[in-house]
Amino acid sequence: MPASMSLLATVVVGLAAAVAATGTLANATEPAPALVLAPAPAPVVPGYRIEFPRDHGAHPAFRTEWWYATGWLRTDAGETLGFQITFFRSRQDAAAGNPSAFAPQQIIIAHAAISDPAHGQLWKDQRIARAGFGLAQAREGDTDVWLDDWHLARKDGAYGLAARAERFTLELSLAPTQPPMLNGEDGFSRKGAAPLAASYYYSLPQLAVRGQVVREGRRDIVSGTAWLDHEWSSEYLEPGAVGWDWASVNLADGGALMAFRIRDRAGRPRWAGGTLRAADGSIRHYAPQDIEIIPGRVWRSPRTAIAYPVEWTVRVGERRLELEPLMDDQESDSRLTTGAIYWEGAMRAREGGREVGRGYLELTGYGEALELR
């Protein structure tokens, strides 16, 4: 669950209001360019049947969509790294009706980061572009999204993934070892009490990773395990929600856990949810009352002075996992693209002191950045 969509949603709401205002002001007899109000984005409703490969592809009718890959890597030299690559698609209504090829009907955003504990460094970069001209696009039908020379595409069942940043490059292949895991009710994942606050959401845990990482010109062959989320929605956060905590864990026994909670302004949980798939493939979905996410140690960013609880205790059903970060400083500043500052990092999951899995933790809405601007 990415940090950025809250702001995107805000942007879109703001734009819609602006367009509406302009629409009323516009002279009805005025010649082209006249304002054409775009049809509202498609609502997320229960009962939709997720089908593959169709739903691997983009859903441009919905407001916000992302493909979100996170995972742990090990270099040939034995270093441990965390990585995250996300492609966002955001539908914009402001330019509806504009025949220009530059009209920003869809915006593509990409984030990439490498958590490098040996060097105490978070390598990160981001891109944003309006879809079009073949330079940036999210295709329908199957996963195929790109932004210049960054891409994520599904081919022959596996995902090819590349992010070429100024100082680092990630080129990975992600091969599924298990079928997709549908979150919520057959992929209908509620985010709040409001009926429309929901998304379509499935995960691909336990992806086998091979590829290479280049940091400042130094190339390493890597392998590891990853997690891919694909989620699309139109009304992600309901009013009053300011951020969320989200975790995904590839369990060492082959199982997978996804858990999230959505917080209000006072930091209280408004909603929660989760999925636990056991090694044998049996799935349990958790309702808000079945999940407890308890913040632990707090780390304060020296750059933004935002305090993040970077250690967590997650209780789902009878299991109780202690999450601890690979490194403390995994804060991402994406104000340039999505407008958000968030913490997104690799973490270990322990149960009774023993490491039971590895995954990623995402903490959003702790700073002012997620405040509506």
């Binding site: 914009q92 330019a95 504009n98 090829a101 920003p104 572009a129 073949g134």
Partner: protein, 837 residues
């Protein structure tokens, strides 16, 4: 004796004789340096600022693809973005948007903020606050200057003209003054393409390369993609373009300021020579006491250098003050108009300031060198004898060297400009001036020899005295000749230019009334329907409409103006100031075009040349039927028959017009009728021919204001020279005056004699300077002007102004001579005589 102590001694003695005398060369150097430094600092600051503004717009682009103002197809953008080695390609549509009622259009840069911020990260900070509104179809960010002019704040709406229809846009936010000092708007590219009817068009692509990519490789792979009329270049060329646009003007000013410094140096030469002459016995005594020849020479040169140093330091300080004032009052281009966007803040470079100080002292050292050598070379035994001060300065007459130098100057005047700068032309001026100065002693002797015998004693004495001291007279003349001749030359050049300019105005503005919609190249135009509506207004006897638009002929070059107007080969001579024409239609059946003189020089488009014009509708082959003067556009212009242009380009709109009014018509009524009828209303500028003339001449005079200032300073320096010569000779001749009084001359007669000497000396100087100035003006008019401005002017001499100036100079010389004579005569005659024995 150490050189330092020796020098201190000389200095003290000089000081005792009269501190004022030492301040004169200091003042002369200070004025010259002040002028040079002021011109330099002002131009440099303005250019610097313009460059920074340009760089903020272009950001860190490594390469910039540019098209004509109507743009190029946007397909080029993805092709370039996908090229190997291209990290970011940022598409830009630059439009000059016309505003109703505003004289200037608003430059709007339409861009994709996602791409643009990666090429110019500074932009992000400016628009971040309003990024979420960026995609609004009618949103715009304004620079503070534009917002002030439009009186619009964030959230306000204002109107722009598209064609002749108004459209409303909304201010999304303001751009900081530091980042965007010029008037400017920034819009989303999609919104701008739609609103201004430029769908599918771009005018620019800014490119940042992948780190380590070879610029030359990417450059050549981009070049392969470019359609005709679109160019790719490193953005440095942008500031180069401006630099070359203003270079001729700046070089002119800087060189003229340097000439002022040179005049100062001549003045140092004159004052030092006289001072050394006067001190000859003292200097000889020093030699007799054991000071070596070299030691004395060095000490005297050091004296000159120190005077120069003080003068130059004062001059730089004064120059900075003048520059600060000029920036505020005249704007960054000293009134020339090319740097209209630049605001006044002065950039001061300590290194350059030091250079000016150094130049001043070097000039002064050079001025002291010649007389120092001569004083040191003089045999002490001879020099110790009284009366040697009056003995001639060198016995060799350097007229041969003078003629050779002048001949060389003549040869230099024939050489072409170097990269648009008439360096040889300036060299010619310098050689002619120096050569002529070397002729002065001989000419003075001849002239004085030809003066008829006078009956009145004071006059006869004056002539005799001057004949006896030609060398000293010549030294006194050097400064006045140098400054006055340059002044005469500049006066003739500016006058010639102005006369030609007035004649040109009369030809190109023949009608009673001129109309213009928006600025050249902007979005506002008139349609054929508008044209008819205007021509049918009562009181309009005849009307003519023109399409004026920029046309880029060569990559990186300043676009030339294309003027489509009703013209044919028969009427060309009446409508244009033709300088060269091809008679008859010739063998070619190509349509005729006429080009300005600058086109001949910059593009080699002489009459008879067959050329290709890259018009919007496609390339048009044409034949150059003639060349004309265009003082309005130094970058070059092309006149094409409107029918030919319209059929080739498909563009039948116009943006300028001339109206001839019926004899009974009232201009104000016609203007009101046009404004009432026409839909374009406030966007239309209407001016009568008289107004156009007034405005043009006011601009002309403003552009040359600095030249007039230079002239005034040259005159001042010249007068200083006269008075210094007069004062020092008068003081040195106190004994002679005493003698004259003894033999019965009355005090008044001595003063008359001195005044006669002053007038006679100055008369020789003024006549010589008038002739020399006339000669120099030929170099200025036909070589320097032609090469730096790329247009010709006809020589016209401002007789009256020159006569007044010459008379002023003569009167001033008589007055200073009288005054210094009175001062010299104030003491007791007997004591004055005794003083020398």
């Amino acid at each position: 004796m150490s050189p330092l102590r020796l020098w201190l001694m000389l200095w003290r003695a000089q000081w005792h004789e009269g501190p004022l005398r030492m301040t004169v060369p200091v003042l002369a150097i200070a004025l010259g340096i002040a002028l040079a430094a002021a011109v330099y600092f002002v131009n440099h600051s303005a250019l610097e600022e313009f460059e920074q503004a340009a760089r903020r717009l272009a950001g860190e682009a490594d390469l910039v693809v540019r098209g004509p103002s109507e743009g190029f197809a946007e397909d080029l953008y993805p092709q370039i973005a996908k090229l190997e080695g291209v990290a970011v390609a940022s598409p830009v549509l630059a439009i000059d948007v016309s505003l109703p009622g505003a004289p200037r259009p608003l430059p709007v840069i339409a861009l994709d903020p996602f791409r643009a911020t990666r090429v110019q990260p500074g932009l992000l900070g400016e628009i971040a606050g309003g990024l979420r509104g960026f995609f609004e179809p009618d949103g715009i960010f304004l620079s503070m200057r534009a917002a002030d002019a439009l009186e619009a704040g964030t959230g306000d709406r204002f109107e722009v003209l598209v064609g002749n229809a108004p459209r409303s846009v909304r201010v999304l936010g303001l751009l900081s003054d530091t980042a965007y000092p010029q008037a400017l708007g920034i819009m989303d590219i999609a919104a701008a393409q739609w609103m201004f009817g430029r769908l599918g068009r771009l005018t620019r692509i800014d490119i940042r390369l992948v780190r380590g990519a070879a610029l030359a490789d990417v450059h050549s792979s981009i070049e392969l993609l470019l359609p005709a009329g679109v160019t790719v270049a490193a953005p440095a060329i942008d500031s180069d373009r401006l630099a070359s646009a203003t270079r001729a003007y700046r070089v002119n000013l800087s060189m003229l300021a340097l000439v002022a410094v040179l005049t100062g140096a001549f003045l140092v030469l004159a004052t030092q020579s006289l001072a050394i002459l006067r001190r000859r016995p003292a200097l000889a005594l020093l030699r007799a006491l054991g000071v070596t020849r070299g030691g004395l020479e060095r000490a005297l040169i050091a004296e000159g250098v120190v005077l120069g140093l003080i003068g130059a330091a004062l001059g730089v300080a004064l120059g900075l003050l003048v520059a600060r004032w000029a920036m505020r009052v005249l704007a960054g281009d000293l009134g020339a108009g090319q740097l209209a966007g630049a605001t006044g803040s002065l950039a001061v470079q300590p290194l350059e300031m030091l250079a000016f100080v150094a130049a001043g002292s070097v000039f002064a050292g050079l001025g002291a060198w010649l007389p120092a050598r001569e004083a040191a070379a003089r045999s002490p035994a001879l020099a110790l004898k009284s009366g040697d001060a009056q003995a001639g300065v060198g016995t060799t007459r350097p007229w041969r060297a003078g003629l050779i130098l002048m001949g060389l100057g003549g040869v230099l005047a024939l050489l072409p400009a170097i990269q648009g700068v008439p360096l040889f032309g300036y060299g010619a001026v310098a050689l002619l001036l120096t050569g002529a100065v070397l002729l002065v002693p001989d000419v003075a002797e001849r002239l004085l020899g030809s003066v008829p015998a006078m009956r009145r004693a004071p006059l006869a004495l004056a002539v005799a005295q001057l004949r006896g001291s030609t060398a000293q007279v010549s030294i006194g003349l050097v400064a006045i000749i140098a400054s006055f001749s340059l002044m005469v030359a500049m006066a003739i050049m500016v006058h010639s230019f102005r006369e030609s300019f007035v004649a040109w105005l009369d030809t190109v503005v023949p009608a009673d009334m001129q109309l213009r919609v928006g600025q050249v190249g902007s979005t506002a135009t008139l349609t054929e329907t508008d044209e008819i509506a205007v021509s049918r207004i009562e009181g309009v006897a005849r009307s003519e409409f023109r399409r004026v638009l920029p046309l880029a002929l060569r990559r990186g070059a300043v676009p030339v103006a294309l003027i489509a107007m009703p013209i044919d080969e028969a009427s060309a001579a009446e409508r244009l100031v033709l300088v060269k024409a091809v008679r008859g239609r010739g063998p070619s059946q190509l349509p005729p075009v006429w080009v300005s003189e600058a086109m001949v020089d910059l593009y080699g488009w002489g009459p008879g040349t067959e050329v290709v014009l890259p018009l919007a509708g496609g390339d048009l082959a044409a034949r150059v039927a003639g060349a004309y003067r265009d003082y309005g556009r130094s970058g070059g212009s092309i006149v094409i028959p409107r029918k030919v242009y319209a059929s080739a380009s498909g563009d039948s709109a116009v943006n300028e017009g001339s109206l001839w009014l019926a004899r009974t018509a009232d201009a104000a009524a016609v203007e009101a009728a046009i404004r009432a009828r026409a839909p374009f209303g406030e966007a239309l500028q209407i001016r009568t021919a008289a107004e156009v003339r007034d405005i043009s001449l006011r601009n002309f005079d403003r552009a040359f204001a600095i030249t007039y200032a230079l002239e005034a300073i040259a005159v001042f320096i010249g007068l200083l020279g006269v008075s210094v010569a007069a004062a020092s000779t008068a003081l040195a001749r106190r004994a002679e005056f005493g003698m004259l009084r003894h033999i019965g001359l009355r005090r008044r007669q001595v003063v008359t004699m001195l005044a006669a000497e002053g007038v006679l000396t100055s008369a020789i100087g003024v006549c010589f300077a008038l002739l020399l100035g006339g000669l120099l003006s030929l170099a200025l008019v036909y070589v320097i002007n032609r090469q730096s401005f790329l247009w010709s002017i006809d020589l016209a001499v401002p007789w009256l102004a020159l006569a007044v100036l010459a008379a002023t100079l003569l009167i001033a010389a008589a007055i200073t001579a009288t005054l210094s004579g009175r001062a010299a005569l104030s003491g007791d005659a007997v004591r004055a005589v005794r003083e020398d024995w």
